[in-house]
């Protein structure tokens, strides 16, 4: 986590990094969506704490 960024900016950064690494490794749509949902749930859990 980058301490100079807001929580929202960090989430955007995390998602973009995940997208770029998924494409670099050869995109698998199903795995991508599964992990994307996991990341969204993690972010949401953080919000609900």
């Amino acid at each position: 986590m980058n301490l100079y960024l807001t929580e929202k900016e960090n989430t955007v950064k995390e998602l973009i990094e995940y997208i770029e690494s998924s494409i670099k490794e050869g995109l698998d749509e199903f795995s991508f969506i599964t992990k994307l949902e996991e990341m969204l749930i993690k972010h949401l859990k953080g919000k609900l704490k």
Partner: protein, 644 residues
């Protein structure tokens, strides 16, 4: 470089066919229709492109006859008389093996690149060829296929789905808010009604309480009520006494139930006794025999000692006079003082000797006795036995006492139980009488009216409570929203979270839009550059410029008057040239790493002059890039492979 293609049961040919190809040259596969030309190029296409990951390409592979459609019964490349066929392609140290099964299954040892179908197949019915001949200038698909734009688009679609999900959630939140508002209003109204009914109920209850019944009935009720209260009080005391008695009985019963303990103690005593007896019998017996023997010897010595003591006493009493008799033999003679002293001394010496021996025997007896007492804990065992016997006596005494005490206590308990039963019967009787009085009271018409009115109000209040409960439950349920499989228990909080997620997704989408544009532009620019070079190489000056525009990726054709030409207005011959030009450019731009370019009669269908120019260009790139360029040509002869 050499490529060897080994085919088994492919197409119309049964058995193995092995063909060699050379890189750096253009190879022509000549032959009449159905001579097996297509079989060879289709085998190349399958070995170098399988597996296919895109639906569009799957369709193209089916059209090209290398894969089976869902409706088709058999895989077209497998010979109709065989269940299995195979392709083996060896080149540059690479060995690709493909097993084809009649039912459509395909196994490959090393994956190919499905772009091969777009970029390395100069064939009729290819997607590029079909677009051009049908006048369709939309070539966005090719820049998508040949770049990462398609992957970014897939991600964009996923993110947009999530955004749509959030929009739906927002609609649900709005709907739920309306429900909550509506139900809150309903609850408020119901609460007002409830308060009014409760007020009425209070009045009704007071009226019922204050109702004046027949005096005699009321007196009788009071009397019975008083008796009941008194009986209940007595019952409470009786129950207390019964409880104490029961506990005492249980305690006594517990004392009586000591059989096990008695048995255990007896067992212990017997065990210890046996142990002591064994000790006595086996080892002590011999010691005791020794003691008896020593005691015998000791006794003999004692007798001897006594004999000398007596003798000494006799000598001590002797008077030293002439004519005295000897105290031992009674003979008359002269006994001197020396004789007396000497005899007494002799007696003393003997006495001392016997005393020492007796002392020694006593010591020996004591030692043996001590041995008996202490050896193997005999004394300890005997002490334990005494203790156990004492305990047993105590338990048996206690048992006797308990047995004597339990009978009177049992009688006492039975008596109190009987009394309780009688008292309960009395209370029941009084209660029955009270119920009867209540029924008599209810028979009073006015009183009955009041009761009915109260019951009506009760029902109304109950109905309102039920309605409020349901509304509250609905409010509670409506206040929960599920976001990404998690429950959020507050609509306002959920709205804030959704808005933040929307902002996050929008920013991610901006990135994706940028990347898609970047990828498409990059792919199109490379493609355009290749087309431009190729036009120059092929001296195709019919048009000034052919390129994909960078906005919509449509094919633009600019004539020599700088006017834009519609693809649909271009002649058939020109379309064939443009098609070949785009296919070769696609190969050079996007898939130059696979050294194969396979062509059907497409190029050779051009006019002789143009066909020569194309062939010469292909020869040149085959040599320059060390590619295998393999083309088919229809002739009237049998299959023949020649290098040109």
């Amino acid at each position: 470089m050499k490529a060897t293609l080994k085919l088994e049961n492919i197409g119309g040919r049964v058995g193995i066919q092995e063909l060699d190809f050379k890189s750096g040259v253009v190879t022509l596969i000549k032959g009449r229709t159905a001579a097996g030309k297509s079989r060879i190029i289709k085998s190349y296409a399958l070995a170098l492109s399988f597996p296919i990951h895109s639906d569009d390409l799957m369709e193209e592979a089916i059209n090209f006859g290398i894969l089976k459609s869902i409706d088709a019964e058999y895989l077209p490349l497998v010979n109709s008389s065989k269940d299995k066929a195979s392709i083996e392609l060896k080149y540059n140290g690479i060995v690709k093996k493909v097993d084809l099964f009649r039912d459509g299954k395909i196994k490959i040892n090393e994956n190919g690149n499905h772009k091969f179908l777009y970029c390395s197949m100069l064939v009729k019915n290819s997607r590029i060829h079909n677009h051009i001949t049908r006048g369709n200038a939309d070539f966005k698909w090719i820049v998508d296929e040949m770049s990462l734009a398609k992957d970014y688009e897939i991600i964009l679609r996923s993110i947009n789905n999530k955004l749509e999900e959030l929009t739906n959630k927002k609609e649900i939140i709005e709907k739920n808010r309306k429900i909550i508002k509506e139900k809150t209003g309903e609850i408020e109204e119901e609460l007002v009604k409830k308060a009014e009914f409760e007020k009425q109920l209070k009045v009704k209850v007071k009226q019922i309480d204050d109702f004046e019944f027949d005096e005699a009935l009321v007196r009788r009720e009071d009397d019975i009520q008083s008796k009941k209260t008194s009986s209940k009080k007595v019952l409470t005391n009786q129950l207390k006494i019964e409880k104490i008695s029961k506990e005492k009985l249980e305690e006594l019963a517990k004392n009586i139930n000591v059989d096990k303990k008695v048995k255990e103690l007896r067992g212990n005593i017997k065990e210890k006794g046996d142990e002591a007896n064994t000790l006595k019998i086996i080892e002590v017996e011999s010691l005791q025999k020794d003691i008896i023997k020593i005691q015998g010897l000791k006794s003999q010595e004692e007798q001897e000692m006594v004999r000398y003591e007596t003798r000494k006493q006799l000598w001590e009493t002797v008077k030293i006079e002439e004519g005295n008799k000897c105290p031992l033999c009674q003979s008359v003679g002269k006994i001197t003082e020396e004789d007396k002293v000497s005899n007494i001394e002799e007696c003393n010496t003997k006495i001392e000797e016997y005393r020492a021996i007796i002392k020694e025997f006593s010591k020996e007896i004591n030692e043996k006795q001590n041995k008996i007492n202490s050896k193997h804990g005999l004394k300890k065992l005997e002490d334990e036995i005494v203790n156990l016997v004492n305990k047993l006596e105590k338990v048996e005494r206690s048992l006797k006492e308990s047995e004597e005490a339990i009978m009177p206590e049992q009688k006492k308990h039975e008596k109190i139980l009987k009394e309780i039963e009688l008292n309960k019967q009395e209370i029941n009787k009084l209660e029955t009488e009270l119920i009867k009085i209540q029924e008599d009271k209810k028979k009073d018409e006015q009183y009955q009216i009041l009761i009915n009115e109260k019951s009506d109000i009760d029902q109304k209040v109950g109905g309102i409570r039920e309605k409020i409960k349901k509304s509250e439950e609905l409010i509670k349920k409506s206040n929960i929203i599920e976001l990404f499989k998690l429950k959020v228990h507050d609509l306002n909080n959920a709205s804030i979270i959704i808005e933040e997620f929307e902002e996050i997704f929008k920013e991610v989408n901006n990135h994706l839009d940028f990347k898609i544009k970047e990828q498409r532009e990059g792919a199109a620019k490379k493609f355009n550059k290749s087309i431009k070079n190729l036009i120059k190489e092929l001296k195709f000056y019919t048009f000034k410029e052919i390129y994909l525009d960078l906005e919509e990726y449509r094919l633009k054709i600019i004539d020599n008057n700088d006017d834009s030409q519609e693809l649909s207005s271009v002649s058939g011959g020109e379309k064939s040239i443009i098609s070949s030009l785009l296919q070769i450019s696609a190969k050079e731009t996007y898939l130059s790493e696979i050294p194969f370019l396979i062509g059907d009669e497409i190029i050779l269908d051009l006019d002789p002059e143009r066909s020569d120019i194309f062939l010469n260009y292909l020869k040149k790139i085959a040599e320059e890039k060390d590619w295998f360029i393999i083309l088919t040509q229809i002739t009237n002869q049998d299959l023949k492979i020649i290098e040109i």
